[in-house]
């Protein structure tokens, strides 16, 4: 089996495992997993820019929220149905990615981090400012009757779970394909040595911008799906926390690996879940876990596994 076929086989096996989980796990966990899958899609989008292209963005909440509010506002104020609203949300996020990316990519390193952070903060403040449309801090609930995809009730537990599997599964296969393609190798080359890539004749700026737009569109797809599946659109998803979270999930799971974002999101979700059962200071537990991971698993869970034992991991 060549490396390409093996990567595909691993990804299909993970998707099959996720489908299987529905039949064996209790409802509490499948409910969690539905949420985790949508967030892991967001983390995968982040990973494309951070893990594969080597761009440390601190503003991905902007793209998640652009998808979420793009969908939410046209559904709430325009009475648009779920599917076109979702497409609109993705388009919003891609457009925001194109515009902010084109500007932010004029900088690099620390300046890039700050510029992306500032764009995301501006987005957050816009959400608060245009309260007539967004209901500001409170956010708004999308009515259950509207959360309906060609007759299927998206609020139903089972539909929600499999919608999550579909979203994450297609992003996993898509990204798996992308990072093994010539373009994906170019992104990795840019991460490894930008100047060398330029001096091979690659238009580095253009490649980075394409990566940012794809990432923004996928983050927006996750944001819009989150609103649709869980029925809530809120300003907290545009706040700085949602820019940091995908970074942490990706770091914990393994940056630059296709499965890292899923594993990182999963572990972090349950860490928070169990820690908050024990103590109110659950963020402290999460912090300690992250420090330990940085010390002992600097490449993240999947990254370390790949380095030490399973070299063939995608």
């Amino acid at each position: 089996m060549g490396p390409d076929t093996r990567a595909l086989a691993v990804h299909l096996a993970v998707i099959a495992l996720l489908i299987g989980c529905w039949f064996v796990l209790p409802q509490y966990h499948t409910g969690n997993l539905a949420r985790i899958l949508v967030l892991a899609t967001f983390a995968s989008a982040y990973n494309l820019v951070f893990g594969y292209t080597g761009l440390l963005s601190l503003g991905h909440a902007l793209f998640f929220a652009a998808g979420m509010y793009g969908l939410g506002i046209v559904m709430q104020h325009g009475g648009v149905s779920a599917l076109p609203a979702w497409v609109f949300g993705v388009a919003c996020a891609a457009t925001v990615g194109l515009v902010t990316g084109a500007l932010a990519l004029r900088t690099s390193g620390v300046a890039f981090m700050i510029v992306t952070l500032m764009f995301a903060q501006a987005g957050y403040l816009c959400v608060l400012y245009f309260g007539d449309w967004t209901r500001g801090d409170e956010g708004f609930v999308i009515a259950r009757t509207a959360r309906n995809l060609i007759g299927i009730d998206l609020a139903d537990e089972r539909v929600r779970y499999f919608a999550g599997v579909c979203l994450f599964g297609s992003s996993l296969l898509g990204i798996g394909q992308l990072v093994r393609s010539g373009f994906g190798k170019t992104l990795i080359a840019i991460r490894e040595n930008e100047e060398r890539a330029r001096m091979l004749g690659y238009d580095v700026q253009r490649c980075k911008l394409i990566a940012v737009v794809i990432s923004a569109a996928l983050a927006g797809a996750a944001g819009a799906a989150y609103a649709l599946l869980f029925g809530y659109v809120g300003a907290s998803f545009a706040a700085v926390q949602y820019s940091i979270l995908p970074l942490l999930w990706t770091l914990l799971g393994g940056a630059g690996t296709t499965l890292g974002p899923l594993l990182g999101t999963l572990v972090m979700f349950y860490l928070v879940d169990y820690a908050s059962d024990i103590t109110d200071a659950y963020l402290l537990v999460v912090g300690v876990a992250l420090i330990l991971a940085t010390l002992f698993l600097p490449q993240g869970i999947v990254g370390t596994l790949r380095r030490r034992v399973l070299r063939w991991l995608p």
Partner: protein, 252 residues
């Protein structure tokens, strides 16, 4: 004489008042191996950086194949058929040796409209051919960062070869190579000059004398000599600036 592949006209670059390159007029002709020598800090690397667009000049123009490329960004000049190897080894260390060269081929044949499968095969063939020529075919699956220093330099040369460039610019390619690798490199240069034009920054005078058809000498940013190896060896200004006045060419 054939027309120049590369020509610089009154090319100058100053960094905050310091002239790194001063009014350089250089013409490199097809199938020529041109060495560029000069003491440390003479502006050799700055000059080639101006040629391939990593730096923009303070004054003057660069012409490639008769076309003024002064306003083109670096990647666009590379696409016209220039390959460049860095003075400080510069490979994609996390990627395999093969993938390093494949990246180079993939870009070079990006405009061909062959089918997917044909293209994949062409990339593999060209990459392996380039690796073969520098003797790294057996290391194809190793991460490039694991290679010994000298082998990383050879890998860089392979990345340039794989581009099949019209003009191949190498910045101190033999630095850190073992003696037998240097011999191999000289042979390679000889073979290459039949299909390509080479601009070589080099400190090793053996390599320069054995491979170069013409030598350009830079000192304090100025071109102080440009001619065939014998003339350059005898040129008084060059001897004073670089070779030492009474010892003759030293083997570095």
């Amino acid at each position: 004489m054939t027309r120049p592949v590369l020509e610089t006209r009154h090319l100058s670059k100053s960094f905050g008042g310091v002239d790194a390159v001063k009014d350089v007029n250089l013409a490199v002709h097809e199938h020529e191996v041109r060495a560029l020598i000069g003491p440390n800090g003479a502006g050799k690397s700055t000059l080639v950086s101006l040629v391939c667009g990593r730096l923009s000049p303070t004054a003057g123009t660069v012409h490639f194949d008769g076309q003024d490329v002064s306003s083109l960004p670096a990647h666009a000049r590379i696409r016209l058929g220039i390959a460049y190897t860095f003075q400080i080894t510069s490979v994609f260390s996390e990627l395999s040796v093969f993938e390093n060269v494949a990246l180079s081929v993939r870009r070079a044949i990006a405009s061909s409209n062959a089918g997917m499968r044909q293209r994949k095969r062409a990339i593999r063939e060209r990459a392996m051919m380039a690796l073969d020529r520098v003797g790294l075919a057996d290391a194809r699956d190793r991460p490039a960062g694991d290679l010994a220093y000298g082998h990383q330099r050879l890998l860089e040369i392979a990345m340039g070869l794989a581009q099949a460039p019209r003009l191949f610019i190498m910045d101190e390619p033999t630095q850190g190579l073992a003696l037998d690798e240097i011999e191999r490199f000289k042979t390679l240069i000889g073979e290459l000059s039949s299909s390509s034009t080479i601009l070589l920054i080099e400190h090793n005078m053996d390599v320069v004398m054995d491979t170069a058809h013409r030598i350009a000498v830079l000192d304090a940013g100025e071109l102080i000599g440009d001619g065939n190896p014998q003339d350059i060896q005898q040129d008084a200004r060059v001897q004073a600036a670089y070779l030492g006045t009474d010892t003759g060419p030293a083997s570095a």
